[in-house]
Every structure is written in C-alpha cells, then in structure tokens.
C-alpha cells in the first residue's frame, strides 16, 4: 500500500504543482490569480484525447498541438479577462472576469466534448511496467521536473526570461526600462497555458479527459500556491507534492470523501495560521 500511496501521491502532487506553477506564471507578470488555471489542466486532457484518440495523431504532434491550443487559450484569457481589468487591480474584478471565462470554457467543453469522462491514450508503448511503476504515475513527475528545470533555465539564462523576472519584480520600472511589458505579459499567459495543459496531458491517464476536472484542479492546484507563497515556483512544487502525498494517504486510509474534508480542513487551518504561505513574503504597506 505504501508503494501505491507514494506513486499516486507523487503523481497527483506533480499535477497539482504544475497547476500551481500555471497560477504563478500568470501572476508573475500581471498580479492576477486566474481561475482559468485548472481549466487549462482539464483542457490538456481533453485536447490530448481529442488529437490522439479521435484524430489518430501520433503522440508527439498530439502533444505539440495540445500545448499550442492551450497557449492560444492562455492568450485569449489575457485579452478577454485580464487586460481590461488590470487598471483597477485593487477592485479584484479579475476574480470575477477570470471566473466567468473559466466557467465558459468548462461549459463549452461539457457540451461540445462530453459530460462523461472519456479515455485518455496510453502515451508510451515501450514500457509495459504496471503497479507503482506504471507510466501514468511517473509521467506527471517527469513533466513537472522538466517544467521546473526549463523555467529555471528560461529565467536565469535567457534574455526573455530575465525580462520576465524584471516585469514580475517591478512592473513600472521594467516599463520605464523600455521592456515590452504588454507583450511579455501575453507571452507569459501563453506559457502558462502550455504548462497547465502539460499538467493535464501528462496526468491524462490518471484524470481522464473529463470536463469536471477543471474546478478540482483549480482548487487542488491553488493549495500549493497558497502554501508555497504567491509566485514561488519551488514552494509550489514542495507544496504540491506534500499535498498529493497527504491526499493519497488519506484516500487509502480513510476513504475519498473524508480525504477531501481532511485536505480542506488542513488547508484552511494552515492558511489561517500563515496567510502568506509557508515560504511567502511579508504583507504590503497599507497606508
């Protein structure tokens, strides 16, 4: 049982962590927490199933198309739900606009795709391992590791990545330096779309292609962000893996419903005790 808990815990933990990184990537350039993060994860599964099972594409082009389509949805998010409300960030209208867009995405998926979970293809044919070493468990972990390493490389080694960091650090100063702040923001939403879809794609064999995964991923992907502190990707990974392990341990020992209650209760308690997250920064000046 321990092996199953570890395998599935790390797998869902990695998915949650990736959704957390999706939140963070959007937050970094816009200071907006977007409800679309979980929907992007959901779409990763749906697009993957659509391209590979329905359209019979090979895995790699299917993955590429999935990421592209989700990146496009990320860009749409920026244009429709984020840009118009950025000038009044303090009114928190983005909570409503991104929630509205997320619900629209979810409803369109439910109607155009299916309201029932549909199968997701087995991605790799070469491995036949089962049990804890099944590909459905380690694929999300690999995806998460690749994403984190890729982001570290992007932010530390490339000019575009440094520009991202500059915008995230101080929007106004970055603009004053002549950085194309708006384009960088659009790019970060595209990137977030791809990362979110990667979460759903790599975890497709666990979560299936199901429209209702959106809100669940939204919530469970938000917990690592809340625990790790806004904008902190490493915190999100640690928080995500911890959440996945805790949730699966509770799942195996006390059963599904009570594990959700346990996760929720623990989440509220930790948040109330440390509203800035466990690795978060101090609150801002108010007066």
């Amino acid at each position: 049982m321990l092996a199953s808990i570890l395998a599935s815990g790390l797998a869902v933990g990695a998915i949650y962590a990736l959704i957390g990184i999706t939140y963070n990537t959007m937050f970094a350039t816009s200071r907006v927490m977007s409800f679309t993060a979980g929907q992007l994860g959901m779409l990763g599964g749906v697009f993957g199933s659509l391209f590979i099972l329905q359209f019979q594409l090979p895995v790699l082009p299917g993955l590429a198309l999935t990421l592209l389509a989700a990146a496009a949805i990320g860009v749409v998010t920026e244009f429709v739900a984020v840009r118009p409300v950025l000038k009044s960030l303090d009114q928190h209208l983005y909570v409503l606009s991104t929630l509205a867009l997320a619900l629209m995405i979810q409803q369109v998926t439910a109607i155009e795709w299916s309201t029932e979970p549909r199968p997701f293809p087995r991605l790799l044919e070469l491995t036949t391992a089962h049990g804890p070493w099944d590909q459905k468990y380690w694929l999300p972990v690999v995806a998460c590791a690749v994403t984190i390493l890729g982001l570290e490389y992007l932010y530390k080694r490339t000019l575009v990545g440094r520009a991202f960091v500059a915008v995230a650090e101080d929007n106004f100063a970055a603009r004053a330096l002549g950085l194309p702040e708006r384009n960088l923001r659009v790019a970060s939403y595209a990137l977030a779309g791809a990362i979110g879809a990667l979460a759903g794609f790599s975890g497709g064999q666990l979560l299936l292609a199901f429209f209702a995964n959106g809100p669940l991923l939204n919530f469970y992907g938000f917990i690592p962000v809340a625990l790790g502190g806004l904008g902190n990707n490493r915190g999100a990974v640690i928080g995500g893996l911890a959440l996945g392990l805790f949730q699966q341990a509770a799942n195996f020992t006390v059963g599904g419903i009570f594990s959700s209650v346990a996760v929720f209760t623990l989440f509220i308690i930790i948040l109330l005790a440390a509203p800035q997250g466990l690795f978060g920064a101090a609150p801002q000046r108010r007066v």
């Binding site: 429709v80 209208l93 909570v95 409503l96 509205a100 619900l103 409803q107 809100p215 919530f219 419903i257």
Partner: protein, 601 residues
Amino acid sequence: MDSAKPATVFEPPLTPRAGLLPRAVLPFLGILALALLLPFSGNDYWALIATRAAIYWILIAGLNLVVGFAGQLAIGYVALLTLGAYTASVLASGTVTPEVPAFLALAAAAGIGAVFGLVVGLPALRLRTFYFAMTTLGFATIVTQVALAWQDVTGGGIGITGPAMPPPFDTAWSFFYLCLGLAAVVTWMTGNIARSRFGRGLIALRDAEVAAEASGISKPALLVSTFLFAGACAGFAGGLFAGLQTYITPDAFTFELSLLFFIAVLIGGRGSILGPMLGTILLTLLPEIAAPLAAWSTFLYAFLLLVIVLAMPGGIASLLDFAGRRPLPAHRAILPRAAALEALLPARPEAAPLNLAGIELRFGGVRAIDGVDLEVRPGQVHGLIGPNGSGKTTTLNVICGYYEPQQGRMALGAAPLPAGMPQKRAGLGIARTFQTPRIIGEATVLQNVMVGGSIQGSSSFFATLLALPRPRAEEKTIEAQARLALAAVGLEGLAEARADRLQHSELRFVEIARALMLRPAFLLLDEPAAGLSAEEIRRLGALIQAVARQGTGVLLVEHHADLIFDICDHVTVLNLGRVLASGTPADIRSHKEVVSAYLGA
C-alpha cells in the same frame, strides 16, 4: 444646491424629509403588488417559479450584504442552502431525531446556516480576496460530497423528502404567499442594516478599509454579525427550498445555483438592494424564458458576469441611479462656516497633551523614524514639516496605530497610548485624514461623513435589523451631526452627491468633515493642502485654526511652507527620521540647518 451664502448666521441645514413613504420604498411596493397579483394568473407553474424567486431572494438578500456591501467574494453560498435544506428535511422527516414540526425545522435550518455562514466567512478576516473566493468554492464542493456520502442521514444519492408545510401553507399559492411574506421581511431587515452605521461600515470596509479603521469600525465584529445574518438567511432559504422541492438529492444543489446567487448581486449592483432583487427575478426567469438554452444556462450566467464586470461594473443599480447623474453646480466654492463648527465641536475644557518620546521605527534595515520626540498640545496647531522621506506620514501612522514602533513611548496625558490597534484610536479621540483621500466613491458625501460617526452608535446589529427605536434615534443624531460637519467645512450643498463626482480639493474637505465627526481631541492632517488652490488653502487654514480654537490639538503635516508659518503655533522639522528643529514658526524660519536642508535659501 446654493452654497455661496455669507456665513454670518448659521442655520442648521434642513434634512430633506420625505412624505409618509420615502420614495426609495416605492419600487419595492410595486414589485410586492405585482407578486401579490400573481395568483390571479391561475397558472400553477407560475406559483413554482415565483416561489423559487422569493426563496432565492431570501438567500440573496443576506448574501447581498456580504458580496454587495462588504465586498467579500463569497461564491459558494449554495453550500449553506444545501445545509439548510438537509437540516430542515432531516429534522422534519424524523429519521434521525424525533419528528420536528416544520417551522421549528426551518428555524433550526436558519441556526445551522448562521453557524456555518460564520465558519465559511471567518477566513475572510485573514485572507485576501482570491483566497477567500477559493475557500468558499472548496467548501461548496465538500458539502455536496458529504451529502452524497453520509447516507444514513442524507439518504445519499437517493435523497430525502423535504419538510411538508402544515395547513394553511400546504397549497402551491399559500406556500408562495408564505415565502413572499418572508422575503418581504428579509428585504425590510437588510434595508434597515443598509441604511444604518452597519451598512455604511460594510461599504467603508470594502472601499476604504483604512479610513474605516481610523473611524473606529471594527472589521471582525461587523463581518461576524453580517456572516451570521447572511448564513441564517441562506439556511432558512434552504429549508424553504426543500419544502418547495418536496424531495431533495445532492443533484439539486448544483454549482450553477451558487453562480446564480452570486451573479444576481453583481448584476444588481454593489451596495444596492433593489438592483440585486431585480437581478434575482431576472436570473430566475431567464432559464424559463430561454428554455431551449437550458443546457447553456451556466454559460449564459458566466457570460453575463463577464459582460457586467467589463462593461457595467455598477450593475442595474447604476442604471437606475438617476439622481447620481444629475449635474453638480459648476461654479461652486468651499465655504467653511465657523458657526457650524462651533455647534459641532463644543469648546472642550483644557485637556491633556499627546506625547511621543524616543519613537524608533525600522523597516528591515531602514530607520524610518529614529528617535522622535513630539508634543501636540490641545488647542494648538502643530506643524510637522520636512523633506520627502523624512518620516512625517510615518509618524502619523505610528500615532494612529498602523505601525508599531520598536522603541519609545506614546501617551495621552498621563495614560500611555498603546502601539498598534488603529481601530481603537477613534474611541480615544484621535482622528485623521490621509495623503490620498480615502473615500467611498459610490456612496454620497453625507454617507461618507456619517462613516466618521460610527462609534457614536451603541445599538446592536440585531436591534438595527428590527429597526427598534434606539438605533433609529441614533441614526438621526449621526445624520444631523454629519450635516453640521459638512456645513463646517463648507460642503453642505453637496451632501447628496456621489462622492466620486467631487473634485479632489472637495474630497480633502470631506475627509476633514469625516474626521470632525469624532469631535476629536486630536486631529491629524496629512498634507490637506496638496492639490488645493491658493484661495482654498487660505480657507483651509482658517478652518484648521477654528478647529484648534475649540480646544482640539491639530498635528499638520504639510509641504506648503506659507500655510505652516501662517497658522501653526509650533513647528517640528524632521529630517531622515530625526527631529532637526522644533520651535515657534519664527524660530524655524531663521534656523540655519532647516533653511539649508529644507526651505532653501
């Protein structure tokens, strides 16, 4: 709206009194009359729809205080409806407990709703907006899952019968009348709250939290009462909902309902009651009218939400706000009236000074204040000047409790003034204004000023809910004083105007009026002359001196050297967080270091 009269004799401004019925009540009576006529349609299907709308409104009326007034994005209120529905059904069916009469079961549902309303709401005291929205969503998911899993009590997926109403409420139309009556009562209650210091306090917390604190409004106490009330409404509505459905399963409580509740408030407009009521009716009818679109209803709601957020953030209420669009007089002047000030601030007997000794405040490695001593005497104007970043505003913030210094003592006379707790300052007679005016743009000028009188009310939330005589009397007193305060600063002609339509200079005077509502022993002004014309600065100076003459100690942070030297009795100069010089204006003017560091040669 004529404010350009000489201020020789002061006549108390007249309160506009409505006739027997205030005009604001008329639309509600119209809706009620239409609803009462519905049974004559003879169509029982309408009974179902109308009852549903009434039940939804009972929940939304409470939620409106949370979302529309307090600005808390509580999205998952369907959870409380579910809890109320199951509580009432389980109690009335007698499967777990002895059978309980239907109305008692409804009361119990309201009780459970109140308790969980508080539980769901409490995180709002600590968490930021998005976090709070997320926790309410999470709670909604959990409740449905528990309802499914806890089969012994809830019947799981099979469900449970709802409470059967005793005669005479056992027919479709009589049940409708019952729900309509209850909806009317709840509307009246939320109206009472909205028009009281509680309603203003909620809006102040939403739009100008710092100013609300400075006015002595306690966020926890206010939000706790509001969450309890909204939860009780939701639980009660849940009980009625179960009665209407006659049979409930977890499927009946979709997230779509949560969305309907939430969006009804936003379509209606924040801080309004009529708007959300119309929103409720509209959203309840929408799926009936657009039956072929039933599958798309969530999409429709979400689309509506997006349109409202992007295109008309004010909602229906702002469309209906004809008075708010009336043009304000173009050539208007701020003419403070000394007589009104004297009526508002009775001369106070010689009081104790406000003392700061050795205050030190560090932010990380930065010493924002590095050992400041200051004494503000009652009845004097004390100027605090210095270059940008010298610690003037920070000193005000320390006095007002927003920052806790690492070192030093503060005292009011002999009594020590504890650091922190900004919401306790109002009770100690310390009032302030802000560098950027902290104003509720969507409220009228009068309401903004009345926020300053919040701590004068002592009646409870519950008494206000029922419009008992004492809260009503208190309201009248606060309103009369607010009109006096507006006259004192010279803005009584703009009392009914929406605050966001005022000019910047006028907002500065509104803030002073709000601060004067506390009849403060000490008034702290943070750059009140910034952005004012020369003539306005002259009037401001006269006003400040008049306030001091009544015995109030004024601490004035300012960059306009002329104003400082004209009206101050004492001036303290800060530089790099330290006192560079302190003395009479004449001393300061000739102080070498001050001249070279700040005033310029």
